[in-house]
Symmetry: C2
Subunit: 108 residues, 2 copies
């Protein structure tokens, strides 16, 4: 039973991978915005993150309050092996379907 990822779930998972240690709600939405140019609301990001955790694809840990200036504590997310496999699987599927086609894959 292959774990199925939605389009946005893929982006979130990829964001976790590239943010590595510093992945939490705000940074995830910022990274997705930076890379893709679209600006998902925070609600959207948090919802997806929560659902990915329910499915066991990621884990979260509460961060310590930072010495900098104020604000609520961050909830850090880390991708799990299952999650990593799921993204790779999705990407591979798209890759196979796109192979040989002249749809531009890389950015300008």
């Amino acid at each position: 039973m292959p774990v199925h990822l939605g389009e946005f779930e893929q982006l979130v998972l990829l964001a976790l991978l590239r943010l590595d240690d510093d992945a939490y709600g705000v940074s995830v939405q910022r990274e997705i915005a930076r890379c893709t140019g679209r600006a998902p609301s925070f609600g959207t990001v948090y919802t997806t993150l929560a659902r990915l955790e329910e499915k066991g694809l990621v884990t979260s840990r509460m961060g310590e309050p930072t010495p900098e200036r104020g604000g609520r504590r961050k909830k850090h997310y880390v991708i799990r092996p299952t999650g990593r496999r799921a993204v790779e699987h999705s990407l591979k599927a798209i890759g196979k379907m796109a192979r040989g086609l002249d749809v531009s894959w890389e950015a300008p």
Copy 2:
């Protein structure tokens, strides 16, 4: 307003591109199965195809009865420029997010 594609919609659109002239319900599901190893039901494929048409990303034309042996007529689908652009856009987004990561992109 960027047309948003779901994960499966992307696969269907890619299938249309690679099937070119010979794209219709059955062949689309077969192609997706062949490439990705998953076997969506026909209902799933037709629903998606219909929705893509509503959104103006593809067009359809009824085919003539074939000289071969029996069966209902095929409904051929062709991707439109808008559709092509939409897939490219989606693929580009994923590409940007995956760039630099060591997630295997190509098939084994």
